[in-house]
Structures are given as structure tokens and as C-alpha cells.
């Protein structure tokens, strides 16, 4: 097992998981001396009935009636400040964040403001600006998922000044993450597929990128095993609660892995595609994942091969000659995308050419690929990719991912 010359690893979040995990919230807050939480969520989560489930699970043991559901799809500084004011006016002493990435980021931003009595959130941006624990924060993810319930970062947009503020600190980690199968039961198959592939991309990239370490590896392997096995099951059987819980656990393990090991080409090109063309993040990850593996294969074949056993199980591992294991991992991921495409009636895209919006309009015109390739050059995820990338490399990969054809590895420039 790899032992780097130097590494760091941290996940201070207490994970509480189960079919009835939400019912533990009152005692979890009491242990931290809190009893009056502000519940932060968005309208989508609320209208799916999930907040009612959270409130009902408290059964009068907790004042769980202060609910703010106005978090927008992109975290917004105005909303952060408004929610912080609500928190203070109501003498709250904890935050419960129920939702996906934007809700988590908003909750983390609110926590900075209320804990540090911040007049200006920007003063705490960057890395290391926070120096002491914040108020108790419980994260309840409703997708499986972004992993943001276990990350030490938050991004808040200031729409007035057209700024994106990024915050990085171990103090931003939620105190507790509650993984309850009820929170993801209502996810339709397409969202299930794309958020599941997002989680898989975290686990896989964390395993082969440059900052990997023994503990991130251990979390990656556990995540890959759970996600690969349960994602097709839960996409086809949305009400399978064991599969839902396993996916939530797998996505959380993947979040722990990548937040301690960083990510690479898949996220680099995926972020750029998302920001230029508005393609949902999970779809970008799903499409790019096999290409990230192919691009880095000459430098990371052994690590990629190490994913085969947790993914495919012993029988396939035994049948696959060692020299073919890494390629087998790539083909299994392609097959997974194909299976999800079938399960979702063609809506889970396998390549960029077939990504369409609700009206059926293609979201990624071929002529936009050069713009995406350029945009990717300024994304930080390229730093941790094992093989260097430049504009031409990015474009080559994007062209292949657009068509849905394997990468021609002979064309990869070796750095």
C-alpha cells in the first residue's frame, strides 16, 4: 500500500447513517448543547416533502419549526446574510442543512456569519481565515451525491459584485452528516443516475490523482464498491431503501476521499463544460469519467487496475488477466453509463453529442468545444491530474467525449 513521503488527511464529520437516522438529531444537538436549530433548505426539497419528514422525525423533542426554504440553485450572498439575520433574530444555536450542494454551501456561509458575527463575509474568504469551531452544523444530504456534507469548502456568489467567493477551512466541515434513506427516495431515475455518477467520479479520481494517500484510498475503494453495485439497482428500483442508503453512504465515502485527495481531468473538463454549456455537473462527470482514465492510463495503470476488484467483484477480477484489468475498469464504466442510459429511457447521456435540454435541443454544439478546452485551462483541477494537459490535449479529449468514441491513446502527449 502506498505511503507518500508526506500526506495530510482530515474528516472530522460525525457520520450517522440508517433508515431512521433523522430521529437521532435531537440527541446529537443536545450533545453539543444546542436545541433551537434553523433548518436551511430549498423549495425543491421542501416540495418533495422531505422537510416534513425531517420535522416529523424530531417528534416534539426539538423546536424544528424554523425553516428557511429560499436557497436558490446557486448560493447567493444576499440569501446568506438574510438567513444569518433570521438565525440571530430567533436566538438559534445550530443549523440543519437539508439539500444538495447549494444548500450546503449556503449553510456553511451562514455559519461563518453567525459564528464570527461577520459584517462582511468576504473577510473570511480564502483558505485558513477561520481559526476556531463554528456553531453546530448538521448536514442532511438529499442527493447521493455531491459529497459536500463532508467537504471543507464552500462557494458563495455575490451577484451584485459579480464575484465568486471561495472558502476553505476544516472548521467549515459540518459537525454531523445524517445519511437517511428517506432523503433520497424521491429522486427520479435521471437525477439518481447523474448524482450517482458524480459520486463515482469523486471516488475514482481521488484514487488515481496526484494527491492520493492511504486513507483517501481506503475511502475511495469502499465508495467504488458501494456505488458501482448499487447505482443501477437504485436507478431501476427507486424505492429500494437499502440501495438508497448504500448510495448515500457510498457518495459520502467518495466525498471524504476526494476532499482529501483532489480530482483531475474529469472534473477539469467537466467543470468547464458545465460552465460554458450549462450541462448538469453529474452528466459531465459521467461522460468524462472513462476519458479521464484513458488519458491517464499510461501513468496510472496500476492504480486504475486496483479499482477492478471493488467494482466488479472476485469472479470478474479472477477472469481478467492482470494486463487487462485497467482497461476492463474503463469498459465497465462505459457499460454503466450505457445501462443508465437504458434505464432512464435515453435521458442519461453517454456522450456530449446526445446531451439535450428539456426541449430536446442539443446542449453541447461541436463548435463550442474549443471554448470549453480554453476555459478548462484556468480550472484548478488540472494541477492534480497525473498527465499534463494543454489546450490541444483538452480539445482532443473533448472531441472524443463528444462523439462517444474511445480516446486514441497513441495521440496522448506524454509529459
Amino acid at each position: 500500500m502506498l505511503l507518500p513521503d508526506y500526506y495530510e488527511f482530515c474528516c472530522r464529520v460525525k457520520i450517522v447513517a440508517g433508515h431512521d437516522a433523522l430521529e437521532k438529531i435531537p440527541e446529537l444537538l443536545t450533545e453539543r448543547g444546542a436545541k433551537r436549530p434553523l433548518i436551511i433548505t430549498d423549495k425543491g426539497v421542501a416540495s418533495a416533502g422531505l422537510i416534513d419528514i425531517v420535522s416529523a422525525a424530531q417528534k416534539d423533542r426539538l423546536f424544528a419549526d424554523l425553516i428557511a426554504d429560499n436557497v436558490p440553485p446557486d448560493s447567493d450572498l444576499r440569501v446568506v446574510n438574510q438567513l444569518a439575520k433570521l438565525y440571530k433574530e430567533n436566538d438559534c444555536d445550530a443549523i440543519i442543512a437539508v439539500g444538495g450542494g447549494s444548500v450546503m454551501d449556503t449553510a456553511k456561509g451562514v455559519n461563518i456569519v453567525v459564528s464570527e458575527n461577520a459584517e462582511d463575509l468576504m473577510a473570511f474568504s480564502g483558505v485558513g481565515a477561520l481559526k476556531r469551531p463554528l456553531k453546530p452544523l448538521i448536514a442532511v444530504p438529499t442527493t447521493a451525491g455531491t459529497g459536500s456534507e463532508v467537504t471543507q469548502v464552500a462557494v458563495i456568489k455575490d451577484h451584485e459584485k459579480h464575484l465568486k467567493m471561495a472558502f476553505g477551512s476544516y472548521f467549515l466541515l459540518p459537525d454531523i452528516s445524517v445519511l437517511d434513506s428517506r432523503m433520497t427516495m424521491t429522486m427520479p431515475p435521471l437525477i439518481t443516475a447523474m448524482t450517482g455518477m458524480d459520486a463515482l467520479s469523486h471516488a475514482v479520481e481521488a484514487y488515481y490523482c496526484l494527491q492520493k494517500n492511504p486513507l483517501s484510498d481506503a475511502h475511495s475503494l469502499a465508495a467504488v464498491r458501494m456505488i458501482y453495485h448499487y447505482l443501477p439497482i437504485v436507478a431501476e428500483n427507486p424505492s429500494d431503501r437499502n440501495a438508497r442508503l448504500s448510495m448515500a453512504v457510498g457518495a459520502c465515502l467518495a466525498g471524504i476521499a476526494f476532499s482529501n485527495s483532489m480530482v483531475g481531468l474529469v472534473h477539469n473538463l467537466g467543470h468547464a463544460t458545465g460552465s460554458v454549456c450549462g450541462v448538469p455537473h453529474g452528466i459531465c462527470m459521467a461522460i468524462m469519467l472513462p476519458y479521464g482514465l484513458e488519458y491517464n492510463m499510461h501513468k496510472r495503470e496500476e492504480a486504475i487496475a486496483g479499482l477492478l476488484l471493488p467494482m466488479a467483484g472476485e469472479a470478474i477480477y479472477r477472469e481478467t488477466p492482470p494486463a487487462q484489468r485497467a482497461d476492463k475498469v474503463v469498459s465497465l464504466i462505459r457499460q454503466l453509463n450505457a445501462d443508465l442510459n437504458t434505464i432512464t429511457g435515453g435521458r442519461h447521456a453517454r456522450f456530449f453529442k446526445e446531451v439535450k435540454d428539456r426541449e430536446g435541443k442539443p446542449l453541447v454544439p461541436r463548435e463550442v468545444l474549443p471554448q470549453i478546452a480554453r476555459a478548462a485551462l484556468s480550472d484548478g483541477a488540472s494541477i492534480y491530474n497525473p498527465e499534463d494537459t494543454d489546450y490541444e490535449d483538452n480539445l482532443m479529449v473533448l472531441e472524443a467525449a463528444w462523439e462517444g468514441i474511445p480516446l486514441d491513446r497513441n495521440k496522448i502527449k506524454r509529459g
Binding site: L3, Y7, I15, V16, R32, L215, A218, A222, L309, R318
Partner: protein, 381 residues
Amino acid sequence: MNSVPVFAFTCPVKTNSGNKALEHLPVELAGLNACRPLIITSAKAVGRKAVRTLQNAFGDSGMTLGLFDGVTKTADLGLIEHLKNICLEKKYDAIIALGGYDIVDAAKVLNLAVSLDTADAHKLSPETPVRRHLSPLVVVPTAAASGLETSKFAHFSRRIYSSEYLAPNLVVIDPRLTRAADGKTIAATGLAALGRAAESHISADANPFRDAYSFAAIRFVKENLPAAVIKPADKKASLAILNAASMSGCAASDANSARLHKLGQVFYEMQHIPQGVIMGMCLPHVLGDYLQEGINDLASLLLPLVGEDEFSRTPAAKRADAALAVLGRFLADLYGALGKDLPRNLREAGVPGYIMEDILDVLDKDNEGPYLRTVVERIAE
């Protein structure tokens, strides 16, 4: 994954491991809002060179370092009260525990006293409620480690303190401090790590978060302990073993039963035998008994012990037995390599008869006492 009741896991400890890990301390402490740490250690146990290495790592950081290097195995709440007053007087705002075992236990209890503003540390007890974060605590292990340094437990003055908030914020594993003077020291650390990691996996409900730590620990010990024992000065091998010890402590915080731990602890307290030595003796018996009980997942232990190829070739029904066999061979090789330096039974460890009586009395008070007695009988000769 089967339908399981609610399970939980927490590891509050950040891990910094590797070359020049110590030199990151000033930045890490500043990140915890601390600038005047008190180093707690035993110069006799860790050696003056280790103390100097730690102090020198602060270079020109401008931080004020305090030092108390007289922790002993008989440390009590009187010492804690004394150190608490020193902390208050000198305004120390963090504690760095250099070493393992009693040093770290004392540091955890001191942190409790200081952080809770306890008027009289003599009044501290395991029942003292802890509901918030304590002051920053850093553990810097040396080669001799019990594997509980990173856990939420402190065994102090014959009592067991337990709270998530007792675990250190940070463990700094630096190869300059982790290489051992001799094979038996690193063997004891490795066996403690192996025992704790194995037991935390099989004695509790399935928990993939905990298993991430325990499986990594088992793999590190299996792959590195033989080399570390033959060449204790091998920095990489001993670094891996101390990584394993740290990971096993993180896993042990969440374990249910602790048969191996209880056995190791009682012999340590009564006869000062390193816990890993006893745990190594007991490991085959305790794991074999778990196998007989038939309710624990020994089979999955095989993967970190032998790797992917051998694991996948072993039929599922034979994996638990195979895991025991691998462990048996591993231990036999260690005993072969160390000879008299690693006792295989209590007679070789030189435990006198009258101490045995006291040990059995202590075990009898435990709710698993009758079982633990049977293990002690089996490791006697």
C-alpha cells in the same frame, strides 16, 4: 449492505504524516488559534533527542514553547492539577503530547482540566460532562505506541475517560521520531495496531467508515512489520507502523467489544507489559473464538492481509479460516525473528504468580470476565 440499524462513525483527528511533518506544527497551531503550546512528555521514555527535534521544528516561528518532561506511569490527578495551574499561569493555549501511552493519556486529561476551567482537577472523573470542543491537543507519537493515542479514550489513574472531545485535533507522524531503537518496541506497536484494527472490524456492526481506517491499518502492519522488526532504523517501515497505530486508534473509538484491548490494558497497568505484546499472544485465541461464535465477519479481514489476488482466489467459505491461518503464520514469523525479545506467553513474559492473581481479580470485575479468564489461561504457557 444488509438492512442495518443506525450506525455512526467519527474521527476528529487530522493526520499529518511524513517528511518534515513536525515543521508544519506552527502553521497547524496557528490554524487552531494557538501560539503557546505546552509540550507534555517523558524524557526518560522518548529520549532528549526527540524532545529537541520537536522543539527545533518550531524554528523561528516566534511561538513560545513550554515543556514538562516528567510524566510517569503513576501520574495522577494531583499532577494534572499542578500542570493545570502552570497552564493558567503561563497562558499556554495548546498541548502537544510527545510520545505514547501514559503521556498521551495524561495530556488528554490535562486538556480536560484546562479547557473546562476546572477549579480543582482532583474532582475530575469519567463522569465529568463534556459537551464542547476542548483546547487544541496535538499528539506526536514515537516508536512506542499503544494504538489508543488517537482514540477518544484516556486510561488515567486506573479510570477510563471517554469522549469524542478527548481525541486530539491532530496527529503528527514524523519519521525522525517514529523509528525504533529496537525490533521489540516496533513489534509491540505493530501488534497493538493489528489487534485493535482487527477487533474493531469484527466486534461491531458493519461500518464502512470505520473499516476504511481499520483495513488500512491491517494492511500497513502486514506489509511493513516484518521489515521494521528486522531493521528498526528503517524510516519508511516504522513510519508505516505508526500510521497503522494512529489509524487503529481512530477505528477503536467506535468499536463495541474490546476483548483484546481489555487484556492488553490490564497487563500493561499491572505489569507494564506493552499492550501489543499481550494482544499478539491473545490474537489467535480471541479471533478463533469469534469465528466459533459465527456471527462476525472474519472473512473480509483476509483482503487487507493478503491482497486482491489471493483474496479473490480463496473461496468465500474458506476466507475466515484463511485469515486466521495467515495471522498465525505472521505471528510465528515475528516470534521467530525476535526470539526472546517478543514473549509468546505469560511465562516467557515473566509475569509472577501473585501478579496473575491481581490481574484475574481485575478481569473478574468485567462483564466478560469469565471469558477473558479463559484467554489468560490459554496464554499462560
